[in-house]
């Protein structure tokens, strides 16, 4: 068992290492390097060369990668190119709290909601509540986040003016000031997230309900609630843990658009600014951070599934 956990952790670290290579290669090795990014495409070759030397860009890519990776391991991502006097780490640190808060609120509300809706839809398959829930879910996952966000702004920010339409507070605002600004972005994330997860829960439950063991439980004379709660659900929800993790991890990407829509001061908004500014160290750091979060959440889900599923554990231990 300990072996299995170690194996998972090591695999995750290997994946993260490959991620770092991908990020480094796509931002620094390919044409359009940092010097061009800073000086623009029309800069004279001489000035470019000078800047490259100054930044150490004339050294082999591999050396620079090792140096960058070494820094990343120590949590040092260098100075922002766009904001000369600020360390990348500091820029991120200021905003990470806000994004984590936003994602946490969205996940904490969205997960129970999507489980409940998914179970209702699965149990009442093809009946009115299911058709209603499934249709709304389909629309929810078919509209881009910025559309949902815009509609929410129009409805609750402009027409009714219940909540702030866009955030105008600084990144380090105290929580009580920040919180009202968090509602609409969180609702946007929840809508999209619930749409995805409830569909997965629904089909997983439908599959479990069609299984031989549920038929057997019924033929043992158990009541429907007992069959569903004790026999179908535990087996139906197990495979959705990973799917839920994927969706939660998706939140990390989803916040980019949502934070931009609401001008919410989180790392997603920061990412967009960084890309606009071609602020490479910041983009690299945010990319790596996003991937690290994603991998960590997945690892957590894997370990949780392992812990909850004696069958999976046995199968993996045999291998």
């Amino acid at each position: 068992m300990l072996n299995l956990i170690t194996q998972r952790v090591v695999l995750s670290l290997v994946t993260l290492l490959i991620v770092s290579v991908i990020i480094f290669v796509s931002t620094e090795v390919l044409p359009g390097d940092v010097a061009t990014a800073i000086l623009g495409r029309e800069a004279s070759p001489a000035r470019l060369a000078a800047l490259r030397e100054q930044l150490g860009l004339d050294r082999p890519a591999f050396d620079r990668y090792l140096e960058w990776l070494g820094g990343a391991l120590r949590g040092e991502f260098g100075m922002s190119l766009a904001r000369r006097n600020t360390a990348v780490g500091q820029l991120i640190a200021e905003r990470l709290r806000n994004t984590v808060l936003l994602s946490a609120v969205a996940a904490a509300t969205g997960l129970p909601l999507s489980l409940a809706l998914g179970v209702i839809a699965g149990l009442l398959r093809d009946r009115v509540p299911d058709v209603l829930i499934s249709t709304i879910a389909l629309i929810g996952m078919s509209l881009p986040e910025f559309v949902i966000g815009s509609v929410l702004i129009l409805t609750f920010g402009v027409l009714w003016a219940l909540l702030p339409a866009v955030t105008v507070v600084p990144p380090d605002a105290p929580l009580d000031v920040l919180l009202p600004n968090l509602v609409l972005p969180a609702v946007t994330l929840i809508i999209v997230m619930v749409a995805y997860i409830l569909r997965m829960v629904r089909s997983s439950l439908i599959e479990a309900l069609a299984s031989d063991y549920v038929q057997m439980a019924t033929l043992k004379g158990l009541s429907r609630p007992r069959v569903v709660l004790l026999h179908a659900l535990p087996n139906a929800l197990l495979p959705t843990i990973n799917a839920v993790a994927l969706t939660v991890a998706w939140l990390i990407g989803g916040v980019v658009v949502v934070e931009t829509v609401f001008n919410f001061p989180g790392i997603g908004r920061l990412m967009v600014t960084a890309v606009e500014d071609r602020d490479l160290p910041l983009v690299q750091a945010l990319g790596l951070l996003g991937a690290a979060l994603y991998i960590a959440i997945n690892l957590g889900a894997d370990l949780l599934t392992l812990w909850l599923s004696p069958r999976l554990r046995a199968r993996l231990l045999q291998m």
Partner: protein
């Protein structure tokens, strides 16, 4: 023995024909297919259908409400919105279809090949696939756009890099279902090369799964392209594009909602259609979409 077993006895083996038979019994799937075809026709024929130039500025008509002359109204530059909505999906549609096709072919091949080969090569390939999957959606797109600059070719490449790995995972899982079957053992015992086994024996069997993946990924790419445009890294103004139009007209939402409503309906209907088609195919094949 139940209905599905009876169905097995009566199947005629040719997958596409059978899929179509079940598919067309589903109103939702058929509706999706019709909307999708409409979108394709409109995208292709937009220049013929549009009553005005999509880029002609007419300050007198700025933010004009829908009228007979301009059924969708005008934006703040007075451009005719109908003429902008009609071709507004061309780029997103082209990138999403091309991106989904490339993702499915590349990801599908990689997934099936390594799923068949197994062993160390598979382990290594899957680590790279996992790494690409691990950079969440838009982040990877943005990282690539930062490195390579924006442009349709870069966006297409970024979409394939983002979505092909997911397809590879699915294709590999689908291949794993067939690899232990005896017809594969028979091919191996004949001494067929891995490429022959993959292309001749496995590929036709995972094709239906890949078809569902294609429709699904196309809908995701359409969403992602519009997201990129919204953020300002996708289609450049003044080219008409739904995502861009929503971004441009969002600030006038309260004043001139038509500037946003019609592009939203357009992109929403496209993605709904793609999802309905994907669901319809998946149901016809008896596949579960939530892998």
């Amino acid at each position: 023995m139940d209905a599905t077993i009876i169905a097995r006895y009566t199947t005629d083996g040719s997958s596409l024909r059978e899929v179509w038979r079940t598919f067309r019994h589903s109103t939702a799937a058929l509706l999706g297919a019709i909307i999708l075809v409409l979108h394709l026709v409109v995208a292709l024929a937009a220049p013929l259908l549009a009553p005005h130039s999509p880029t002609a500025i007419n300050p007198e008509l700025a933010l004009a409400a829908p009228s007979w002359e301009h059924p969708f109204g005008n934006d703040r530059f007075g451009r005719d919105l109908l003429s902008r909505v009609l071709p507004g999906g061309r780029i997103a549609l082209a990138i999403s279809l091309a991106g989904a096709a490339l993702s499915v072919v590349l990801g599908g091949f990689v997934g099936v090949m390594f799923g068949y080969l197994g062993g160390l090569a598979d382990e290594a390939a899957m680590r790279i696939v996992d790494a690409l999957i691990s950079i969440p959606g838009l982040l990877l797109l943005l990282v690539i756009v930062t490195g390579l600059g924006s442009g349709y070719a870069v966006i297409l490449l970024a979409m394939v890099l983002s979505y092909a790995p997911g397809v590879a995972r699915v294709a590999r899982a689908a291949a794993h279902e067939f690899v232990p079957r005896d017809f594969i053992t028979a091919a191996r015992a004949r001494g067929e090369s891995p490429l022959t086994v993959v292309m001749r024996e496995l590929w036709p069997n995972v094709l239906d799964v890949l078809l569902v993946e294609f429709a699904m990924r196309a809908s995701w790419i359409a969403l992602a392209v519009s997201g990129l445009s919204f953020l300002g890294f996708g289609v450049n103004p003044p080219t008409p594009d739904w995502g861009l139009m929503i971004a441009e007209n969002r600030s006038m939402l309260a004043l001139a909602p038509w500037g946003v409503v019609f592009p939203i309906l357009a992109i929403g209907s496209l993605v709904v259609a793609l999802n309905l088609v994907a669901d319809g195919i998946a149901r016809a094949l008896g596949l579960d979409r939530s892998r």
